[in-house]
């Protein structure tokens, strides 16, 4: 039978109508038998109604709405141009500037084609592919039951310029079991595989900066640790990157993105 202290979170979920069918059934059974928890449910429901009322009564001040609407309506072409020349069309109307524009346009197109068709050096995409290769068994890794030895061997492979970030994932029953060294975009990357009872996490360590954050990643600033975390998702795999000094730590896993972010935030071990 459910105890009242176990019922508290389920009461909250019931008030918000965010329970699974099983959870809903178990809390309703408990409420049918427990007057105290019924009173708590009524009280929490009333509190939520009052909070909702206070929230709904608030709307954006007109002045602020106008400022923001003005900002969003303004064409991008008008945002960064100098005063007196308000549109690109006016610039193009100046005959003496036309050859310059032609050259710049050709240069831009060439640059775009170069970046579009060059081999992908996006470390995030490569890391996801490496993780997939490791978990599917297609990528060969060096396995070792000696954690310290594995770490020392990886560091030695990069002449001890840096060492793999050491994560303590024992709470998740995950332990470093294998590693390898990869060359990604001309850089040496140390790869450590954490495996065990839960979803495998692959940790990539390399020298870099915040500019290595994969495109499309979401930034989360951890105010307590004063660290930026970059979270990204592609093809069902999630990655979280952060910087520790000059060393980048990138974790990849198929566990939920929020959980992986929590794992990354819970760690801080200098390389």
């Amino acid at each position: 039978m459910m105890q009242c202290n176990e019922a508290q979170e389920l009461i909250t979920g019931l008030v918000d109508q965010q329970l699974s069918a099983d959870e809903g059934l178990s809390i309703e059974n408990h409420l049918a038998q427990c007057a105290d928890c019924r009173a708590q449910f009524e009280s929490e429901t009333t509190l939520k109604q009052n909070l909702k009322l206070a929230g709904a009564a608030l709307s954006v001040p007109r002045e602020l709405r106008e400022k923001i609407e003005d900002l969003t309506r303004r064409p991008e072409s008008e945002r960064g141009l100098a005063k007196g020349t308000s549109t690109i069309r006016e610039w193009l109307a100046l005959p003496w500037l036309r050859p310059g524009f032609a050259l710049v346009t050709i240069g831009l197109v060439a640059a775009l084609m170069f970046f579009q068709f060059r081999p992908s050096n996006d470390i995030g995409s490569v890391a996801l592919a490496v993780h997939e290769g490791i978990t599917s068994g297609k990528t060969t890794v060096t396995r070792s039951s000696d954690t310290a030895r594995l770490r020392a061997d990886l560091a030695l492979a990069v002449k001890n310029k840096f060492a793999p970030i050491a994560l303590d994932l024992s709470a998740l029953k995950l332990y470093p079991v294998a590693g390898l060294v990869k060359q990604i975009g001309g850089r040496e990357v140390l790869v450590t595989v954490y495996s065990g009872d839960g979803p495998t996490i692959t940790c990539f360590t390399f020298l870099g900066g915040e500019g290595d954050a994969p495109r499309g990643s979401e930034l989360f600033f951890d105010a307590e640790k004063k660290i930026n975390f970059y979270s990204f998702t592609r093809g069902g795999l999630h990655g979280v990157m952060h910087r520790e000094g000059g060393v980048i730590c990138l974790l990849v896993s198929d566990m939920p993105a929020a959980d992986l972010l929590a794992v990354a935030r819970g760690q801080r071990h200098p390389a």
Binding site: Q8, E9, I11, T12, G13, D16, Q18, S43, E44, T46, L47, K48, N50, L51, K52, L53, A54, G55, A56, A57, L58, S59, V60, P61, L64, R65, K67, I68, E69, L71, T72, R215, G216, S217, E218, L219, F220, F221, A223, K226, F229, S231, T233, P256, A258, D259, L261, A262, R265
Partner: protein, 166 residues
């Protein structure tokens, strides 16, 4: 702009005063516009915008040591004055106005007195009408953590509010 009311509600109850709330929303919109290519189509725009706002709030709180606490509540009368100027209801009538004013004062004071980790889920889910999933995305934590903090936070809030509301 979509979700502007939601953003302002969250900013209002997070920030110390309406001016900070307005700055927070304006900065959020500017950042969102300049980083819009980083928004993944098909994902939750409201959660993405609110996350920018929440990160900016945390960032500026740390920078300015402007964390909201029980201290400084003596300024509450002036803040509440701004609050009532921005209420959406055009003419709620004198009786309702008095009741809503009391309600808001009690809630505003109680919210300011509970720790940030419990306050944020209440602001998002109860005042901002966000789902657990959306709140989890904003706070970058699992859904279970949102529910447990919400549960604990509401009990703390009930204790602060006493019998006047619930």
């Amino acid at each position: 702009m979509t979700h502007l009311d939601h953003l302002y509600r969250v900013a209002f109850f997070l920030a110390k005063n309406p001016d900070d709330a307005q700055d927070c929303v304006q900065e959020t919109c500017a950042r969102a516009l300049s980083a819009f290519e980083r928004f993944a189509p098909g994902t939750n725009l409201k959660a993405w915008l609110t996350r920018i706002l929440y990160n900016f709030f945390l960032d500026s709180s740390v920078r300015n040591k402007r964390t909201v606490s029980a201290e400084g509540l003596s300024d509450g009368a002036e803040e509440q004055g701004h609050f009532w100027e921005s209420l959406a209801t055009p003419d709620p009538g004198p009786e309702r106005q008095v009741l809503e004013r009391e309600l808001s004062e009690v809630i505003g004071d109680a919210l300011k007195a509970i720790p940030e980790e419990f306050r944020a889920p209440i602001i998002l889910v109860d005042l901002g009408d966000y789902s657990y999933q959306e709140a989890a995305e904003v706070l970058a934590c699992p859904i279970g953590t949102v529910r447990s903090r919400l549960s604990r936070g509401r009990r703390l809030l009930q204790k602060r509010i006493g019998k006047s509301l619930g």
